[in-house]
């Protein structure tokens, strides 16, 4: 049962490696912005010791983790379903004995894992090459907690991606939603800048949204910025969000399909 989804994931991964030049380029695309951001913070920390509890080493580690995790949890790859819906190719999936949602879930995981694996290697190289003062948690208990949280982020991220792509059932043309997501999501996940640095009011808003749990929360664990009880509370909230998003996804999917078939797509 689960094997066929695994198969989908591996096929997608292999397709990704076929375009080698593009593959290499896409990793350099991760490295260069990271490089600039690291240099920028190094310069900022010349005059200041600490910003909102972040030391220079923590800040740089923060951005390295962002670079590493973004592909894993990114709700950025939403074109597939959108395309299928707009071009009417969705029908072929509706007819197949593989649940559309799981199909895409495995597809996403395949892509993400493939990219992240190489990104990990590249970034490790980066750490050594630039003699980055990488912050490693002193309390080793935080590592498994971080990993658990990342795992949950991936599930949450896929759910969110899925939910957004279903909007294509209602929005027949490009409405710029992609742009809004592309630029707003990095603020809300903390990819742009740690949420703690944002003005209090923005921070409060971001805390009420699920995006925070994609990047900011796991990284906070890694940097030991929150207590164990806060982590427990956070993991609980993460699971809660996953439940909400997937129930919502299932509901929207059913509504969408009804609409799709009613239109005779």
């Amino acid at each position: 049962m689960f094997r066929k989804y695994l198969k989908v994931a591996s096929v997608v991964y292999q397709e990704g490696t076929q375009y080698r030049l593009q593959y290499v380029a896409s990793f350099l695309c991760v490295i260069f912005p990271l490089l600039a951001v690291v240099f920028l913070w190094r310069t900022v920390f010349q005059d200041i010791q600490m910003i909102e509890g972040f030391t220079e080493s923590m800040m740089i580690t923060y951005y390295i983790l962002v670079a590493l995790l973004t592909d894993l949890v990114s709700p950025g790859i939403m074109m597939y379903i959108t395309e299928d819906i707009r071009e009417g190719t969705l029908s072929k999936y509706l007819l197949r004995p593989i649940s559309r949602r799981w199909y895409h879930f495995s597809e996403e995981i395949g892509i993400s894992l493939g990219y992240s694996l190489v990104a990990l290697i590249v970034i490790l190289g980066f750490i050594f090459l630039f003699a980055v003062d990488f912050y490693f948690p002193a309390n080793l208990l935080y590592i498994p907690l971080f990993l658990v949280s990342v795992g949950l982020s991936m599930v949450l991220g896929t759910g969110l991606t899925y939910l957004f792509s279903l909007s294509a059932f209602w929005l027949e043309e490009d409405t710029g939603l992609d742009y809004v997501l592309e630029y707003l999501v990095p603020i809300l996940t903390g990819a742009l800048i740690p949420l703690a640095l944002l003005p209090e009011f923005v921070y409060q808003v971001a805390s009420f949204l699920p995006f925070k749990y994609l990047l900011y929360f796991p990284i906070e664990i890694f940097l030991e910025r929150i207590t164990l009880s806060e982590i427990g509370y956070g993991l609980f909230t993460q699971i809660l969000w996953i439940g909400v998003i997937y129930l919502l996804g299932a509901w929207v999917w059913r509504r969408g399909c009804r609409r799709y078939t009613a239109r005779g797509g």
Binding site: A36, L40, D174
Partner: protein
């Protein structure tokens, strides 16, 4: 003269097309505005916690953000779509149509399309510069302003030259668009203050991949005294890169005409 007339025709032509897709026009402009907004937000937040970044205060940084966006928009408005399409011309063989026409092929391939949404988006960075100038955050004298404009043009020229050179590789490599992505990524660094690059990196980003010359030089011309040598370097480099690119493009065409089938 004839080429100017032709270019004006391209302009009209593209305007017509853009009117066909009005929805897209608005979305693109919105996207540009958002991108600019995010960048400003990023630096604003940093300046909430520190008075300067290596000596650059928020106003100089804002000027840099605006200048970088200006150059980006100019590049996107006049060149980006064209340069991106070079690989398509080669792959689909439509380059043949261009080559049989009595027209300079580089002119036609790299100036054919104009993006009006990018052109319109020039308004936003211009507004920022206007605000900085009228609020007295920066001061322009006439000579400084002309120097500023000159260096701005150099920035656009450098981006154009390197962009064309990179995409000309598609005469040999089928995945040149990936290289173009890399190129864009490189030049997205031009929006950071030059002070953050130190030692070897400053050298690297000035002489090897001249991203500092692109947007930082015009800003430095306004905020501090830029040495005549630096100005000369910027102008010389742009001219040299344009020349090399032209040679390279023609070399690629010759190769195309002796290898294609």
């Amino acid at each position: 003269m004839r080429y100017l007339k032709l270019w004006v025709f391209f302009l009209k032509n593209c305007l017509l097309r853009e009117m066909e897709f009005r929805g897209n026009f608005v979305i693109e402009i919105g996207g540009n505005l958002l991108r600019l907004g995010i960048t400003i937000l990023f630096f604003q937040v940093i300046f909430l916690h520190t008075p300067t970044i290596g000596g650059w205060d928020i106003h100089i940084t804002l000027l840099l953000v605006a200048v970088n966006q200006l150059i980006n928009n100019l590049y996107n408005a006049f060149f980006r779509a064209n340069i991106y399409q070079i690989s398509e011309y080669v792959r689909e063989g439509t380059l043949d149509f261009i080559l049989v026409k009595p027209i300079d092929p580089q002119f036609f391939t790299t100036l054919r399309y104009v993006s009006f949404s990018a052109l319109f988006s020039l308004v936003f960075p211009l507004l920022i510069i206007f605000y900085l100038a009228t609020a007295g955050k920066i001061t322009f004298s006439l000579p400084i302003f002309s120097l500023f404009l000159l260096l701005l043009l150099c920035g656009v020229a450098i981006r154009y030259a390197i962009g064309v050179a990179v995409m000309t590789l598609s005469f040999w490599v089928t995945e040149a668009y990936a290289l173009h992505g890399l190129y864009s990524e490189f030049f997205s660094l031009s929006g950071y203050p030059a002070v953050i690059f130190r030692g070897g990196w400053q050298f690297f980003f000035t002489f090897i991949i001249p991203i500092i010359v692109v947007a930082n030089f015009p800003v430095m011309a306004v905020t501090q005294v830029l040495s005549p040598a630096a100005v000369l370097f910027a102008v010389g480099l742009s001219a040299l890169l344009l020349l090399i690119t032209r040679k390279f493009f023609h070399f690629a065409l010759r190769n195309y005409c002796s290898a294609s089938s």
